[in-house]
Symmetry: D3
Subunit: 163 residues, 6 copies
């Protein structure tokens, strides 16, 4: 682990030079959850199967959000994502919905931010679509699960150093 | 508490009609936290005071992100925000940084999503700027704290119904 | 019917002054169709019911596209849409899918362009999602059906003048 | 012709993985027409030559629209277009204007959507600039004419299979 | 003249609260120039009249740029511009082209930034279209000429205080 | 020096074909200044050191603006910038602030426009943040300083031809 790379020697923000990095396949997966009332949780599940499709809408929003990461995060490089996938899981015991986003590129920088942004926008969309039923929903445990590719290689959550 | 409002009677997603709603002052405050290693936490604090300004950058990103909420969240109405403010607090005991975003408008719909989006983009920017030091950071407890204005009036977190 | 309003007396493009216009409720509905092979048509219908949701995705895209009309059309005013709705109909006899978009605002200019843009982006999204099956799909009959509100009042397709 | 490629095996929308595809020169041409009243048609022609430049504005809008395709179409990959060209033709006999857009890239996916989006935004811009004269204009016959490059090779409209 | 208004008492950037301001007609005009070689200047003039339309393209770009001011300038409020106009003048004696942009709104904040952004994007577009002929072009004298409306009333360049 | 490259033989605007150009490292540096009253100049300097950070905000805005160049400039190609850096210098004798932006890519076209756009957006942001103190600020001397890479090689301001 090293120094912050988004500042130059004067401490000024800079979009760091990646010109010399090689184009390699890079992939990252992030996750996050949104917890809600049981009433709301049941409505999402029912809606997803019968009529109103909360998760279908959130999936599209998350994919589109991931594509716009470099517009939102100031020092993030523009990347041509070669894949974005978002999946959801109902965590029945906790009335939570888990979102996982996998982003992939062939490029010079990693796609951790794109995967995390995809998760965040998907969770925000769930909140938006359900807030008439439950304004107290809480988004949590949003983090990187794994990244591969690039010079630093594989990183997995829960393993305290780059492998 | 009622039904999902983002679907019509056929269960199709719709940006709901707010034409008849009146233009009133509406405000919302949301919060969220990012936890990190002690090493990373210290670097942010030092940087914020001495040179690299992580939180200054995250604040700008959050404000700009809040302004673009309707582009990110599919069924969110376009709003002319009349104020956006983001503040941070160092939670020393937990090596966490807390972000609070207050958004305000004079309009026909609430600004909960704008406040939450401001928090999310600010936290994502902190992650981006610190990820060279700690990829295991976790974003958590992201939720609405309070909203005022509009027909449904005041809502505060922890109070289980609209007042 | 009068003169082009998007040019000044020198013939230069201009975003025309609507400052003096009053804020009234304005609504517009547009339609369009996409024709496709029978094989493709059947796959969309089946997918829509069983698993892959082409029209659900196109609906979200169309709504989001309508919100961005003023970014795409050079001389279009920025509008805070108060409603966007997109509905689809299967035209069995012709293997066509019809999209209808209704947009609404309380503002100083009409929302014809928003309704038409919603239709176009929805149809483009259908094309994108089905092009692996049929690249020969054709978009057609895209036009305004009706507008209400504003000084010029009601206009309906097929009635050759403003009423 | 095969299956829809924008859904995974669970039927969920996904931006498909193109990481393994090779970077090749890919080009696509699309067309579309807008029909209008004779009065309107004459005004566009006169304006185009004497002062107000409807088609010049529509050309710029179409080129800029093509560049933003991936923001509008949910599952479309981001592409660095290497060329965009839009040309118009007056179809005197029918009071129609035909738009043709050619897009080109060196990349991993085709540019059919970019060419079609360029046509659509150009036609919408013509509608916007002329709607004070004729609201009954109709956009039609919008389709892909030809694509080249990539694994599937050449495709031409009117030839019922990939060559 | 007072204090910077874009910082709160802690010195943190904030999008200031304009909720209490009244909606009034506000207008601003800005100008700027680009100087170029005589060869380049002649080509622009000839092109503008005979074939390639540098200024027509720059006008469209400037209008579209003005509409996106709040996306570019971090603490700028979103405004529904009610008018944008850009005009150019050839300054023969100096081989310069002058751009003037007038922006107008009915809203809570002034439109100085929109007028200035319109000028900047128009000048940048001229540079882009001419840079194959002259890379040494220089943009200069970009400033506000006049603003009206709002509590501070009329301001004119060259008059050293608000009137 | 040659002909305008943004028009085809019919004089129509076109985003020129760069498919055949090779991917090389390309870099450009642009500069510009904003002059202001002594009162305003002192406030920026003090603020920059003590509390309100005008230049820190302008730097972030400039970097983000450079990334969006292709959305603003009609015929500009989309580029994946590999580096953006903005630095400021106080010109005490003239009460001016100078901004320099360096942009870099590995791609098929130069990054002059990105560097110039970064400067313009940074200067506009300074104007926005200081306009409560001085509306008479003037942006000036905005121009390309140097470019390297690509077929035309090195260009430096003040040297009247490509080297």
């Amino acid at each position: 682990m090293g120094e912050f790379t988004h500042f130059n020697e004067q401490g000024h923000a800079v979009m760091v030079d990646v010109s010399e990095k090689s184009d390699t396949v890079r992939e990252a997966t992030a996750m996050g959850r949104i917890s809600m009332s049981q009433e709301c949780f049941e409505k999402v599940k029912t809606g997803g199967m019968k009529k109103g499709d909360v998760l279908g809408t959130a999936r599209i929003a998350g994919i589109m959000g991931a594509k716009r990461t470099s517009e939102l995060i100031p020092l993030c490089h523009i990347l041509n994502l070669s894949k974005v996938m978002i999946e959801f899981e109902y965590i029945e015991s906790a009335c939570e919905i888990e979102a996982r986003c996998t982003a992939k590129t062939v490029g010079k920088t990693g796609v951790e931010m794109e995967a995390l942004t995809g998760v965040q926008v998907a969770l925000l969309t769930i909140y938006d679509m359900c807030k008439a039923v439950d304004k107290g929903m809480c988004m949590k445990n949003i983090r990187l699960l794994e990244k591969t590719g690039g010079k630093s290689g594989v990183w997995k959550a829960g393993q305290e150093k780059d492998i």
